[in-house]
C-alpha cells in the first residue's frame, strides 16, 4: 500500500484544507482495510480482488470529450438539467445548471470553496469509512463530484441528471466519483445518476453518494448503470431520511454483450437510515446479467426511528454465465416500534450457467414490528410460454416477452416520468421487442 500513500501525497495540494484531516483518516482506514477478499462476509460471493486491477492509479485521468460522449449526449431525451463529468472531472460546457431560487447545484470542488460550511458539515459524515473499504478509498482520493442543495420547501420540478462518463485510456485508472445531495425540510427533487463507459477499454470506477433527506422532504433517485460491459464499478449510496421524509431509489443495471476482457462487475452498496419518525424508503432494482458479468446488490435499510416504512423490490435476469448477488438487510433498532418493512427478491435464470446468490437478512430488536421478505429464483413459466406460442410467437420471442413482463414491474416503480419512459424503451430495445 506504499503506492497509495505516494499517490495521496501527490494529490494533497488539490484537496481543500478543511477536508484534509478527514481524508487522512479515510486513507489510514483504507490502508488498514485494503481490498476485500471473499473471506469477508460482505464480499463472500463477489471476488472483487480477482477482477480489479490491483496496481490502480488514483490520479485524475485525462478527460477529453470523445465521439462516444458526444453521440450519447445527442441521443438523450432533452433533460432540462444536467451535470456532466468525464473521469470524475466536471465539464461545465457539457452541463446545464438550474438557475432556481433556493437551489444550489455545482461541482463539489466549487461548493467547498463557496458555500460556507455546508459541504464540510455533510461530506464524509454518512459513509462509514472506518469499515467500508471503497468508501474509505473514495473519501481519501475523490477530487470532484456533484453538489446539490435544495433549500427549505423548494420543489425542483424537472429531474436533474448527473452523468458520469469514463473515457480513460489507461486501464489501470481507478476513477473516484462523488455526489453530495442535501434536501432541507419540505424540499423535493428527482435525480438520476448515469454511468457510462465511453472508452474502448475496461474502466474501473468507485462512486460514492451521500444523500440527506430532511423532514417531509422527498427524493427520487434513479441509478442508471446501463452499460456494465467493460466496467468494474462500485457504487455506494448512503442516505439518511428524517421525519416523514421519503426516499425512493431505483438501480437499473444492464450488461451488454461483452467486448472486453469479460471481467465486468457491478457492486451496489445501498443504505437508507430512517432516523425520523414516519420516514419511508423504497429501494428497487432491476439487473440484467449476460456473459460472465457479476452484478451484486447489497441493500440495507436501517430502521432507527419508530413508525417508519420500507420496501425493497429486486429483480434479476441472468443468462449465459452471469452471476447475480442479492443481499437485502433490514435492521430494526430497539425503539423502532411500529416498523413496517418488506423485501422481495426475484431472479430469472435463463441458462444453465447463470446463477444467483440471494440472502435476506432481518435483524429485529423491537417487538412491535411487521417485517417480511420473499425470494424466488426460477425459470420462466412453461404454461405462459406455451400460451404465447399458441398465438404464433416463437419460443425465443415468447421468452423475451415474458422477460419484459417480469422486468417491467421494477421500471413501473420509477416515479420520474421521462426516466421511466426512457427505461421502458430501453427495456424493449434490450429485448428486441417491437411493441
Amino acid at each position: 500500500m506504499e503506492n497509495i500513500a505516494t499517490q495521496f501525497k501527490s494529490l494533497a495540494n488539490s484537496f481543500s484544507k478543511e477536508s484534509l484531516a478527514l481524508r487522512k483518516e479515510a486513507l489510514a482506514s483504507f490502508q488498514k482495510l485494503g481490498i476485500p477478499t471473499t473471506r469477508h462476509e460482505e464480499w463472500k460471493y463477489t471476488n472483487i480482488k480477482a477482477r480489479l486491477r490491483q496496481e490502480f492509479s488514483l490520479l485524475p485521468a485525462e478527460s477529453r470529450v470523445n465521439k462516444a460522449v458526444k453521440n450519447y449526449i445527442a441521443s438523450l431525451p432533452p433533460y432540462t438539467y444536467r451535470l456532466t463529468f468525464l473521469n470524475g472531472v466536471f465539464h461545465p460546457e457539457l452541463s446545464i445548471i438550474p438557475d432556481l431560487k433556493g437551489v444550489t447545484v455545482c461541482s463539489l470542488r466549487e461548493a467547498a470553496a463557496h458555500t460556507g460550511g455546508i459541504v464540510e458539515k455533510h461530506f464524509g459524515r454518512l459513509v462509514d469509512y472506518s469499515q467500508e473499504h471503497f468508501a474509505a478509498l473514495n473519501t481519501a482520493f475523490v477530487t470532484d463530484g456533484a453538489f446539490i442543495h435544495i433549500h427549505k420547501n423548494v420543489a425542483v420540478n424537472e429531474p436533474i441528471y448527473l452523468q458520469y462518463f469514463f473515457t480513460a485510456t489507461d486501464e489501470y485508472a481507478f476513477v473516484q466519483t462523488r455526489n453530495l445531495v442535501v434536501l432541507e425540510e419540505g424540499a423535493s427533487l428527482s435525480l438520476a445518476e448515469d454511468f457510462r463507459n465511453a472508452s474502448n477499454i475496461d474502466v474501473q470506477y468507485n462512486h460514492v453518494a451521500e444523500m440527506y433527506v430532511g423532514n417531509n422532504a422527498r427524493l427520487d433517485v434513479v441509478e442508471l448503470q446501463l452499460e456494465v460491459s467493460n466496467a468494474i464499478g462500485i457504487h455506494t449510496l448512503e442516505s439518511k431520511v428524517n421525519r416523514n421524509g421519503r426516499l425512493s431509489a431505483a438501480t437499473i443495471t444492464f450488461s451488454s454483450p461483452n467486448t472486453g476482457t469479460g471481467q465486468s462487475l457491478i457492486r451496489n452498496n445501498l443504505t437508507a437510515r430512517l432516523t425520523g419518525e414516519g420516514a419511508h424508503a423504497e429501494f428497487a432494482g432491476l439487473y440484467f446479467g449476460k456473459e460472465n458479468a457479476l452484478i451484486d446488490n447489497h441493500v440495507l435499510i436501517d430502521h432507527i426511528a419508530p413508525n417508519c416504512t420500507s420496501n425493497q423490490l429486486y429483480k434479476g435476469v441472468l443468462s449465459d454465465e452471469a452471476t447475480g448477488v442479492f443481499n437485502g438487510k433490514i435492521f430494526v433498532k430497539p425503539g423502532a416500534q411500529k416498523t413496517n418493512a418488506y423485501q422481495s427478491s426475484k431472479a430469472l435464470l435463463l441458462s444453465k450457467g447463470a446463477s444467483v446468490n440471494s440472502k435476506p437478512q432481518l435483524e429485529i430488536f423491537a417487538d412491535d414490528v411487521k417485517c417480511s421478505h420473499g425470494a424466488a429464483i426460477g425459470q420462466l413459466d412453461e404454461n405462459a410460454l406455451f400460451y404465447l406460442m399458441t398465438r404464433g410467437v416463437s419460443r425465443h420471442e415468447a421468452t423475451q416477452i415474458l422477460t419484459y413482463a417480469f422486468a417491467h414491474e421494477v421500471v413501473e416503480h420509477i416515479q420520474t416520468k421521462p426516466i421511466r419512459q426512457f427505461l421502458c424503451d430501453k427495456l424493449r430495445d434490450e429485448l428486441h421487442l417491437n411493441f
Binding site: 413459466d381 404454461n383 405462459a384 406455451f386 400460451y387 404465447l388 406460442m389 399458441t390 398465438r391 404464433g392 410467437v393 416463437s394 419460443r395 420471442e397 415468447a398 416477452i401 415474458l402 419484459y404 413482463a405 417480469f406 422486468a407 417491467h408 414491474e409 421487442l433 417491437n434 411493441f435
Partner: protein
C-alpha cells in the same frame, strides 16, 4: 377436396398413461364439429395435442393438417399455419398488455406469410374491428393479459385473439365453462361471426348448452379415449336429456 384436419388412429399418453386411444376424426373446411363426453375421457388431451403441447406424447397414429404432418411442427408454427386453441383456463400474464401481445402475434404470422408487419395505424384499425366482434372495450386490451379478468372476460379475450389471428382451424376447449348466459351468448356470437366456408371449428364441451348457440354440423361423443358415437346436432340434445350412460351401455353391448 382436401380435409382441414385428418386424425388417424391416434394414441396419446401423458406421463406414460394412454389418454387417447386409436382416435380418428376428419374435419373438412367450413365444418363445425362438437366433441362431447364426460370428464376425464380425453377431450382436453385432444385439444392440447392439436395445439402442440410437449408433455402430450403421441405414441402412434398421425395428424394431417391441410395435408401436412402436424406432428412435425412446434406449437408456434402450428399457430402461424392457422391453428388456434382457445384455452379452457387462459393464462394470466402480468406486465404485458393484450394489445402488445397481439401486435407480436399478428406480425409473427405476417412474417411467416412473407408479409410486411402492420404499422401502428393498420394494427389499430384491425384491433378495433375485431374488438367489436366480441364487444370488448379498448381499455380492456391495454390491460395485462387476463390479469384479474373474470371468467367471462378471459373467454371473450380468447375469442378476440382468435378473431385477430384469423385461423383456419379453431379449437375451443370448454369455452363455455364458467360463463353466465350473457357471456356465453357474446362468446358464441363472436364465434358464429367467424364461421366461413374456409374455416373449421372443433368445439369441445361438457354441456350441450353452448351448442344451442354454436350449431354444430357433427357431434361426437368421446368415451375412454375414442369416439363412441357420432351424429348430427340432435345427438347433443339426446345427451342433454338422457346423460352419457346410454352411450356407455351401447358400448358394452357391442
Amino acid at each position: 377436396m382436401q380435409s382441414m384436419l385428418s386424425i388417424n388412429h391416434l394414441t396419446v399418453a401423458v406421463n406414460g398413461k394412454e389418454i387417447l386411444r386409436d382416435f380418428s376424426l376428419t374435419i373438412n373446411p367450413g365444418e363445425v364439429h362438437a366433441i362431447m363426453g364426460p370428464n376425464g375421457t380425453g377431450k382436453s388431451t385432444l385439444a392440447a395435442t392439436l395445439a402442440g403441447r410437449e408433455e402430450y406424447e403421441v405414441v402412434s397414429g398421425e395428424i394431417l393438417y391441410k395435408g401436412r404432418n402436424l406432428l412435425e411442427m412446434e406449437a408456434d408454427e402450428r399457430a402461424r399455419e392457422g391453428i388456434f386453441l382457445a384455452f379452457q383456463y387462459p393464462v394470466e400474464i402480468p406486465g404485458v398488455s393484450t394489445t402488445n401481445f397481439m401486435k407480436a402475434a399478428v406480425n409473427a404470422k405476417r412474417k411467416h406469410q412473407g408479409l410486411e408487419p402492420l404499422d401502428a395505424r393498420e394494427f389499430l384499425k384491425l384491433m378495433n374491428e375485431k374488438a367489436q366482434l366480441v364487444d370488448i372495450k379498448r381499455e380492456f386490451l391495454s390491460r395485462s393479459i387476463n390479469e384479474g379478468f373474470s371468467g367471462g372476460e378471459k373467454k371473450r379475450n380468447e375469442i378476440f385473439q382468435m378473431a385477430m389471428l384469423e385461423p383456419s382451424l379453431c379449437i375451443l376447449d370448454e369455452t363455455d365453462s364458467g360463463l353466465d348466459i350473457d357471456a356465453l351468448r357474446i362468446v358464441a356470437n363472436g364465434v358464429n361471426r367467424l364461421r366461413s366456408p374456409e374455416r373449421s371449428f372443433l368445439v369441445i364441451t361438457h354441456y350441450q348448452r353452448l351448442l344451442n348457440y354454436i350449431i354444430p354440423d357433427y357431434v361426437h361423443v368421446l368415451f375412454d379415449g375414442r369416439i363412441a358415437k357420432s351424429g348430427g346436432k340432435e345427438l347433443a340434445l339426446k345427451l342433454e336429456a338422457e346423460g352419457y350412460d346410454w352411450v356407455k351401455e351401447e358400448l358394452v353391448a357391442d
